[in-house]
């Protein structure tokens, strides 16, 4: 896939996730749009995973701690061939496995997540097991900025550093907003970089919508030998849709037919410029 194709893929995945949120009349729209560029790069340029043999023991792991942005994950997995896109027609329907959070019942999903502040501990366990077994695969997790207030993250941050897990990559989707408002007004977790550095992590900051920067950071580790890697991806909640960007109600808003059409038009216009 060329760089241009990868950029177009980001547009395509935005359309996909909006389509299924629109159909299901539910979803975490703003956060899915802020994290989709990361997922695009992760699955198309970084992760060593096999759609046919996903549970292969030497695969790279990806655990999405901010499980609620599942529409971004499902769209990426379907596009990558883990399951037919038509499965997503059942999103949030009675008896569908495609619920509002990731579950292992779906090919390509590593762990059931949804409760916040859980993904980093599980990722530490996976990374530790790889170190114990002398394996070279990497473990990635995506954390939301709102969930940084969960104390379990900081317990896990200690452990990642204590056991020198330089095969572990925690990525922060730093859109700086959560359901009630801006992080700094709800519970100020800044300065995040200083905190993780003080906890013994090696930290890089990137533009979370710049595919090249994301790819370079995700593939350039370990940043320092013997230190776990922390990537602060500066993002915009609702990125790519003018009326959603940084507007709180789109945390889990579903567009009207008119606004849905407008969103698609905006994405087509963006694609034409690539």
């Amino acid at each position: 896939m060329t760089d241009k194709e990868l950029q177009l893929k980001s547009i395509h995945l935005r359309k996909m996730l909006l389509k299924y949120i629109y159909k299901a009349k539910a979803g975490h729209t703003g956060g899915s749009l802020s994290s989709i560029d990361f997922l695009n790069v992760l699955y198309n340029r970084v992760l060593n995973v096999d759609t046919e043999n996903f549970r292969s023991p030497d695969r790279d792991r990806y655990i999405q701690s901010k499980g609620h942005c599942v529409e971004a994950l499902f769209s990426t997995l379907a596009d990558r061939g883990f399951f037919p896109e038509s499965d997503l027609e059942t999103l949030c329907q009675y008896k569908s496995h495609y619920i509002g959070h990731p579950t292992k019942k779906i090919n390509g999903v590593e762990q059931n997540t949804g409760g916040l502040g859980h993904g980093l501990s599980i990722s530490v366990g996976e990374a530790l097991a790889a170190k114990i077994d002398g394996k070279t695969h990497r473990v990635f997790t995506l954390i939301g900025d709102g969930e940084l207030a969960e104390g379990s993250n900081w317990e896990a941050a200690l452990t990642g550093s204590h056991y020198k897990l330089d095969n572990l990559y925690a990525v922060l989707d730093y859109n700086k907003q959560q359901i009630t408002g801006d992080n700094q007004d709800v519970m100020n977790t800044a300065p995040v970089r200083d905190k993780f550095e003080a906890f013994g992590w090696s930290v890089k900051e990137v533009d979370g919508h710049n595919l090249k920067e994301l790819e370079e950071a995700l593939n350039s580790g370990p940043f320092e030998e013997g230190k776990p890697n922390f990537i602060i991806a500066h993002t915009i909640k609702g990125k790519g849709i003018s009326y959603m960007e940084r507007v709180l109600k789109w945390h889990h808003g579903v567009p009207s037919p008119e606004l849905y059409e407008q969103a698609l038009t905006e994405l087509d216009e963006a694609a034409a410029l690539i």
Binding site: P57, K104, E110, Q111, N112, T113, G114, G115, G117, H118, L120, S121, I122, S123, V124, G125, E126, A127, L128, A129, A130, I132, D133, G151, S152, E155, A156, L158, T159, H162, Y163
Partner: protein, 323 residues
């Protein structure tokens, strides 16, 4: 007569169950490098110091952070490790409850959750250190085996079985030396209660450290009143041995349950639910710790206060039997 003063000539005294946990885990670890102990600054209380010395590559210290203990153990289990998360039962089953529910049970990462110093083992350290809620909260979670082995044999077998079981397990052990029970049935499997003593007049169902006083009460009933009691070690609270419960209730005899747990939501209420829904109307009593601020004192003093003793169980049996 106090529980700790009784000498039971029929039974051979063993060690504290949690010491047997450590010895069994060492045996397993020597033969399987995937066996990993995960601890929360609990290797001393878990008797795992020798384990750590012999298998330094197979012990992961997390520090005092139970949520992370269970989350990391879930990740290890997901990667194929036989992860034994060993931590005081009070903290393991309460502080880390959401990790147990989501990362272990819901995600089906087969962590072996080992609750040590369970029930009121910590005695005078008080309610912060007691686990009288663990059966109740874990019974309300799908996909977990809950067991409280009574003696050293059940303990060793439960650890060996847990290592080979591909579903989450919660096992609970105390600090007090326990005698070997001597049932006719010498096998152990999760979900199958062991009949320790047989008698048709009354049935006493215990689990963990309450089986021994139940046994002593049954002996006293027989000697003093000629009443014959069945005593069961219902080590597995979930899944409950329904078949055995049906057999016990069939002749209409009174049934007593005894547990080192709140009377709310534990072994007794699990049995009561089955009996009622199956149409049994046997005289029935749930013995355990009542819903109040727990009396202070040692484990034995707390047991005696609430009648989890030879005398207490005997008295309840006599009431039900109208003796």
């Amino acid at each position: 007569m106090q529980l700790d003063k009784i000498e039971e000539k029929d039974l051979i005294m063993g060690k504290a169950n949690q010491e047997v946990v450590s010895a069994t885990m060492q045996d397993l670890a020597a033969n399987d490098r995937n066996v990993i102990a995960v601890t929360s600054d609990s290797r001393g209380s878990g008797k795992l110091v020798p384990f750590g010395q012999k298998f330094p590559e197979q012990i992961v210290e997390i520090g005092i952070a139970e949520q992370n203990l269970v989350g990391v153990a879930a990740g290890l289990a997901s990667a194929g490790k036989k992860a034994f998360a060993v931590s005081p039962a009070c903290f393991l089953s309460a502080r880390a409850l959401e990790q147990i529910k989501n990362d272990v049970c819901y995600s089906n990462n087969p962590v072996k959750l080992i609750g040590i110093s369970s029930g009121v083992s910590y005695g005078a350290l008080g309610t912060t250190h007691h686990s009288l809620h663990d059966y109740a909260v874990l019974r309300a979670i799908n996909n977990i085996i809950i067991a409280a082995p009574a003696d050293n044999f059940e303990t060793e077998q439960s650890i060996r079985l847990a290592a080979e079981t591909n579903v989450p397990v919660y096992l609970r052990f105390g600090k007090k030396a326990m005698p070997f029970l001597n049932p006719a049935d010498k096998t152990f499997e999760f979900g199958k209660g062991r009949v320790v003593k047989e008698g048709e007049d009354v049935a006493i169902i215990g689990c963990g450290e309450t089986v021994y006083p139940a046994y002593l009460a049954a002996k006293a009933l027989e000697e003093a009143h000629g009443v014959k009691a069945t005593v069961v070690s219902m080590h597995t609270i979930k899944p409950l041995d329904i078949e055995l419960l049906d057999k016990l209730a069939a002749n209409g005899r009174p049934i007593i349950t005894v547990e080192e747990h709140m009377v709310n939501g534990g072994l007794g209420e699990a049995c009561a639910s089955h009996f009622m829904q199956s149409g049994f109307q046997n005289p029935f009593k749930i013995m355990g710790i009542p819903d109040e601020y727990t009396v202070t004192g040692s484990q034995v003093e707390i047991f005696n206060h609430y009648g989890i003793s030879q005398e207490g169980i005997l008295a309840e049996a006599k009431k039900l039997l109208k003796l």
